[in-house]
């Protein structure tokens, strides 16, 4: 990479999920020279996740609707002839949008005229005692196990948290032959009923939800609304999960009778946080919007950020769901084609209006779901002092509070004083929760800001970056002053 100049291309798309893949296809159709990059082995992202390399579907097994959609997308991509680099990590992006990758054959560097970020989301977990125990996993992780590897998280799994993944995971476990100890939902029945108008445009999803609930009822799975996990206690080969009733903010209700369940796996998730690693690294303007997942890059309706040539599409731009992501990706692609002079103003505005119409209904539904998954202040406030918040660096809530009392008022000072967010996940797991904890001292999420984006975007080894070399190959600068 140091030696070879970066290869010039029109558009580099990071992430081959619904948003990124549709964007790449659309941009190519507009005449752009496109490179599509993903760290997974094939396109599909989380929702249309490909089978791992070497896996095949069992003969006679009926593929799910998502598998069918994913296969169709992968087929379309391979027919399109779009250059795809799968199994490649983007580890750095420069302000010229130069994008540095690491793949099986080492490092390469590309110089696109435009960069489209379609990196989706990270799952959020509001920490509780026991959340770092092996066997306690995310709802999204459970989804991957079920969809991609056809594996159960455990023999008997407790499912907890918020949002539509709760029912998806619980029914997925039942269908795969597992047991579900209980489903604990932070939301109330009324919270769900409020999302009904947004479902009107998606009768298919409404019907899916009804089927999921019927499956749970048939299996006599307890479904507890307005309940969350208080703690998970290791117990022989399994866990005892202590559940508690919560109020609308997610805070425990005093004097409510305790409920406990036994399980050998726990799948828990409290919504999704948009991936802002690249947009923060490039210092695009961001704003805090709880109902869309938290900090998001400021964009127009077509995903143009405040940085020239940088676009973001799909859930990474604010949670709106997989169904809306494809249209959002295409919106960003046509904006990019127009900005690069490949689409006339007239053709662009026609395409934009058509795609916005196509995006509207699924986005309305996706945003209603995102609202259900939004971080609840009371849930954060009730995290116990000795609970680990940053699991890379073992930073507890008490340490975060102590740093705030010592005068830390923004996320970067908090990071420095506690090491919160300094580990290999770069704050993707803890950042949103730590931000909420610090905001309680500093006044608001806006006031505390977010962690400055830093390379590498994914951990990379020195050996991977350094490559093959001898001492004479090291371009040692002249000596420091004597």
């Amino acid at each position: 990479m140091a030696e070879a100049p970066p290869s010039p291309i029109d558009l580099l798309v990071i992430g081959a999920g619904p948003a990124g893949a549709r964007a790449a296809l659309r941009a190519q159709a507009c005449g752009l020279d496109v490179l599509l990059v993903d760290e997974n082995s094939d396109a599909g992202g989380q929702v249309w996740r490909p089978l791992p390399p070497g896996f095949t579907r069992a003969a006679g097994a009926r593929p799910s609707a998502e598998a069918v959609q994913g296969d169709a997308l992968r087929e379309e991509l391979s027919r399109s002839g779009i250059r795809c680099l799968f199994g490649h990590k983007v580890w750095n992006v420069g302000s010229s949008l130069r994008t540095d990758l690491i793949g099986p054959k080492g490092v390469t560097s590309w110089q696109p005229r435009a960069l489209l970020v379609a990196t989706g989301t990270t799952e959020r977990v509001v920490p509780f005692t026991g959340w770092t125990l092996p066997g306690v996993i995310g709802l999204a992780a459970a989804t991957i196990l079920l969809k991609s590897q056809n594996m159960l998280p455990g023999r008997r799994t407790l499912v907890a948290g918020s949002g539509p993944l709760l029912l998806a995971v619980a029914s997925g476990i039942l269908k795969a032959g597992g047991e579900v100890a209980a489903v604990l939902d932070l939301a109330s029945r009324a919270d769900w009923l409020q999302t009904l108008p947004s479902l009107a445009g998606r009768p298919d999803l409404l019907w899916q939800g009804v089927q999921w609930k019927a499956l749970l009822r048939k299996a006599r799975v307890p479904l507890l609304y307005r309940h969350g996990i208080a703690s998970v206690e290791a117990l022989g080969n399994g866990f005892r999960v202590h559940a508690q009733q919560v109020d609308m903010t997610g805070a425990p209700v005093a004097h409510a009778a305790p409920v406990a369940f036994e399980a050998d796996a726990v799948a828990v998730g409290h919504g999704l946080v948009p991936g802002t690693d690249v947009t923060r690294l490039l210092r695009a303007r961001h704003r805090y919007e709880a109902a869309r997942g938290g900090w998001i890059a400021e964009t127009d309706a077509q995903g143009r950020t405040s940085v020239a040539g940088l676009y973001i599409a799909g859930d990474g731009a604010g949670i709106a769901g997989a169904a809306a992501a494809g249209a959002h990706g295409e919106l960003a692609a046509v904006a990019c084609a127009h900005d690069l002079g490949r689409l006339t103003a007239e053709a662009h505005s026609r395409e934009r209006d058509r795609l916005l119409a196509q995006w509207h209904k699924p986005a309305r539904f996706g945003r209603a779901m995102a609202g259900l998954m939004a971080l609840r202040a009371g849930a954060v406030a009730s995290i116990a002092p000795d609970t680990v918040v940053c699991r890379c660096e073992d930073v507890t809530r008490a340490e975060i509070d102590a740093a705030a009392r010592d005068g830390a008022r923004d996320m970067n000072q908090l990071k420095a004083w506690t090491r919160c967010g300094m580990g290999p996940c770069q704050g993707r797991t803890c950042g949103d929760i730590a931000g909420a904890l610090l905001a309680a001292h500093a006044g608001s999420r806006e006031a505390v800001g977010c962690f400055t984006g830093r390379a590498p975007l994914r951990p990379v080894s020195l050996a991977e970056v350094a490559g093959d070399y001898t001492y004479a190959d090291i371009p040692i600068p002249k000596a420091a002053p004597l």
Binding site: A2, L462, A463
Partner: protein
């Protein structure tokens, strides 16, 4: 001193710049009995003082600054005693490595220059170096060795100083950008950015401690001294198994390598990234990352397997003669400047102490570095 400088808002001294040198100056002034405010446009020690490699080494300190760095080294090691909180300063030996004949000569030359100023640096054989640091590359030809070495966790600097400043009664004004200073016979009036919505501060004395921004600060007082800005790249690994127990450098000083108690390994050495005084550190230069990582993994082969968790940039200041600027602002009564020392973090707390001793009318333990020498001196290579 006029009467209005004695108003309730007046300070004996206002220090502008909340890095190591500003914090140390403010602390020592307050301990000397003055009423002091410390002002910074951002949070305490979030620029060079909080993001540098934390190396406390004589190998990389400029030879003439060795006596200062040795006193400062002791201050860092004793931080808990005088700051009330440690910065995890750790005493380990330091080695500078030579892998070529030219580097052997450089190691001898640099060791000799520092010995003349009192640094206990000797040149040792590869066999002896491997006894001290078994992990070094087998191609080692010679090494400079110094027992007085070590490192601190620079990210804790602001937190430790905050404890001490608060205890000493210093008013700490963070996130308060200064717009300008009006100086006259009555003292100094420090005006703030409109966004700070804060009335001006009255001060009998003002101390400029702004690192690479000292050039701009001096301009408030009508004084022009060029300050060069270095954009240093830093690399840290995730927590890994113990792979080293010293501070390592190479002959020409362009590597610093140490493993903290938490297992992370910090790779520095002043490799340059993109940025400037106005925008700060903007981004790393990939070819310099590759060079720095190759050098680190060459010096300590076990490091190759470690994964990089984070790369960032820190700004370092340099004057025209690469010596610090510590003393009276030329032509402006009761205005002082402290900063721009090479390896400024290492010697920072001591530089603040002698600045304060001078302002308090005491004899500084070691001589200051008169800013007047830099007036009209062009920046080399500019």
């Amino acid at each position: 001193m006029s009467d209005n400088a004695h108003s309730s808002a007046a300070y004996d001294a206002v220090v502008i710049g909340g890095g190591v040198m500003g914090c140390s100056t403010a602390l020592h002034l307050a301990q000397g009995g003055m009423r002091v405010a410390l002002v910074d446009r951002g949070p305490l020690c979030r620029e060079a003082s909080g993001v540098n490699a934390g190396t406390l080494t004589l190998h990389m300190t400029r030879a003439a600054l060795v006596p200062y760095a040795m006193r400062a080294w002791q201050m860092w090691i004793d931080a808990e005693k005088w700051l009330g909180m440690s910065v995890l300063a750790t005493h380990v030996p330091g080695l500078t490595l030579a892998f070529t004949e030219a580097e052997c000569e450089l190691v001898e030359l640099r060791a000799k220059a520092r010995r003349e100023y009192g640094a206990p640096i000797e040149v040792i054989s590869p066999a002896r170096a491997r006894e001290i640091e078994p992990g070094v590359h087998p191609g080692l030809l010679k090494a400079g060795y110094c027992d007085i070495d070590g490192f601190a966790s620079a990210y804790l600097t602001g937190r430790a100083f905050r404890h001490a400043l608060t205890a000493a009664g210093v008013d700490v004004l963070e996130n308060t950008p200064v717009e300008g200073i009006d100086s006259g016979d009555a003292g100094h009036v420090i005006r703030f950015d409109g966004a700070a919505s804060r009335p001006p501060l009255q001060a009998t004395r003002v101390v400029l401690a702004g690192g690479v921004w000292i050039e701009n600060m001096l301009a408030w007082l009508g004084v022009q001294i060029p300050i060069k800005v270095l954009i240093n790249q830093l690399i840290i690994t995730e927590r890994v198994r113990p792979v080293m127990r010293t501070v390592l450098s190479v002959a020409n000083g362009l590597l610093s390598l140490k493993q903290f108690a938490n297992g992370t390994v910090l790779i520095g050495g002043g490799w340059q990234g993109e940025g400037d005084r106005e925008r700060g550190g903007v981004e790393a230069r990939p070819q310099n990352l590759v060079g720095n990582m190759r050098l680190a993994a060459y010096a300590l082969p076990a490091l190759a397997e470690a994964r990089i968790a984070r790369i960032w940039l820190g700004l370092e200041a340099e004057t025209a003669d690469a010596m610090p600027i510590i003393g009276d602002v030329p032509g402006v009564p009761r205005a002082y400047v402290v900063g721009s020392a090479h390896s400024g973090y290492t010697s920072g707390p001591f530089m603040g102490r002698i600045m304060a001793q001078h302002i308090l009318g005491q004899q500084p333990e070691l001589p200051l570095f008169d800013p007047a020498r830099l007036l009209g001196m062009p920046m080399p290579g500019a």
